[in-house]
Amino acid sequence: MANLFDINLFGLFGQLLIGLINGSFYALLALGLAIIFGLLKIINFSQGALYMLGAFAAWMGMNYLGISYWWSLLLVPIGVAVIGILLERFLVRPISGEDHLYSLLLTFGIALVLQGLFTHWYGSSGMAYPIPDELKGGTRLPFMYLPNYRAWIIVCSLVVCTATWYMIEKTKLGAYLRAGTENPQLMQAFGINVPLIVTLTFGFGVGLAGLAGVLAAPVYSVSPEMGSSILIVVFAIVVIGGMGSIGGAIITGLGMGIVEGLTKYFYPEASNTVIFLVMVLVLLIKPAGLFGKEA
């Protein structure tokens, strides 16, 4: 009986860990969405596709150019951010005066193009990306086995999320950003280059997606569809958390990952849908979202 209990505990913590890893990606993507939404008031539908692009860039870098994981971790987010900046400058900005639904449709189109191109080039079956040598192996804890790479994902995501939160809430640059969210015209009048800040914010937001993509490459298979499936979940998370606060997006992302992990352990059939069901509950009880301000 004790043995059976041990196995169960092992399984439970295993699923919790997977949940926490999924949550790390949800948090990174939701954070990127929330930052972009804060300043531009648009939802970037291509966030998932750019996450996919990040994973593919890492894979291509390794297989075609011999770029190591560590260099990818540095270079790919910058590359994705540059692509994001170009997209913002040449596609999103020209329609910034129109209804925000148009920018949703525009970024949806961008997502279709990216996903379609990679499906054409690489097919829809996934490809493997090796775990870097430095992070192979794992640690045996009393209640579970913790692979090093998975621990790395969680640490990395937490550090990046916390740093971003700190930058936005506590630094001068963050203050500009928050002021831009409140009243862009007034800030412009104070001599701050608002369009530049908007462009950089967009670049930073999608750069986070690129980073998440590189982190994800060794644990999920690299495939063109990896972005769209995770993005829809992240949308639900954004509805649950509300996009009013940066901290809220991070906490909801991690929290929903854990909820998903627990569901996988106790009732696996619902693990795909549990986050959407939580969203339904939140809509019924607190429609503005857990951290939302507006009605």
Partner: protein
């Protein structure tokens, strides 16, 4: 009624079309045109962007398909009615939830709810999982007319389309439709005038879902297939594209948009660009948003106004 002549010409063309064009292709266009018109009712006239309309198409298709296959001797009109009823009920529940949020959140909520339904249809025992429901019999209309012939089926689908289209036309030109447009243009004002805005939104949502279900049920009979493609988020995106391309908020826009996209897909699928289909649709999306926000019908109207 100044357009009566135009409508009669179009009706005449639709009646003789199967003599010239492949009837299954025409039926596909009609089903998607009805789907896009239903969607346009919500987006173009009530200003609500649903990114999960595939759910209603797919629910109609699955329910009709399942019943036609499992109930011996069921007539197609009953099968379709059952599919439509289920879509209407799901539309009511989803609409009730979605109208709690507005704008971009509305789009995200509907997309997430649609994904919930997608996983349901993937896992439910009666849907055949990845294979879908295949070999759905078309049956005998009213127990009398055999629909297995494509030409007969075409006139049945045409009748359904005209019925659905007429209902949408009537709705838009009714007092209800006027309130709908008022809400789209200025919601706080509509509220201050005493309209129960949420009830109007919900009713429009249900109507749109019901008609989308009708399109799905009919489509299941035409292709004798109900599959996950019908409930996938990509299908939800496709109907947005059809409406946007044709011209949202216009009566004929979605029909033209659906015709264009279906023709494009059929042409591309046969040619060397087949595997670029998503890329091309994405580009059409981008171009529409950047340059043709009024859509084909909107641009034609502008052209006519300028030159005549």
């Amino acid at each position: 009624m100044k357009n009566m002549k135009l409508n009669l010409i179009l009706l005449g063309l639709a009646l003789v079309a199967p003599l010239v064009l492949y009837p299954v292709f025409l039926m596909k266009v009609l089903c998607f045109a009805l789907f896009a018109c239903a969607f346009n009712l919500l987006l173009g006239f009530a200003g609500l962007l649903s990114f999960g309309h595939a759910v209603f198409l797919g629910s109609g298709a699955y329910v009709t398909g399942y019943l036609m296959l499992s109930v011996e001797g069921l007539t197609p009109e009953v099968g379709i009615l059952a599919g439509v009823a289920v879509s209407a009920v799901i539309g009511f529940v989803y609409g009730k939830l979605a109208i709690k949020r507005e704008g971009i959140y509305f789009a995200m909520v509907t997309l997430a709810l649609a994904q919930l339904a997608f996983f349901f249809f993937l896992q439910a025992p009666f849907t055949g999982g990845e294979d879908g429901i295949q070999g759905i019999p078309r049956g005998h209309l009213f127990g009398l007319i055999d629909l297995s012939d494509n030409i007969t089926m075409y006139y049945f689908v045409l009748a359904i389309f005209i019925g659905g289209f007429a209902l949408i036309y009537r709705t838009i030109h009714s007092p209800f439709g006027q309130v709908m447009k008022a809400i789209r243009e200025n919601e706080p004002r509509a509220i201050s005038l005493g309209y129960k805005v949420n009830q109007y939104k919900l009713m429009t949502f249900v109507l749109s879902a019901t008609l989308a279900g009708l399109a799905g049920s009919t489509k299941a009979l035409v292709f004798q297939l109900a599959s996950l493609t019908d409930v996938h988020w990509f299908m939800s995106g496709e109907v947005v594209l059809m409406t946007l391309l044709g011209g949202m908020g216009t009566i004929w826009g979605p029909v033209l948009g659906a015709g264009t996209i279906v023709t494009l897909q059929n042409t591309l699928a046969a040619g060397p660009l087949g595997s670029y289909i998503h890329v091309i649709m994405g580009i059409v999306f981008i171009v529409c948003v950047l340059a043709f926000r009024n859509g084909l019908v909107g641009e034609i109207q502008k052209l006519v106004k300028r030159n005549f």
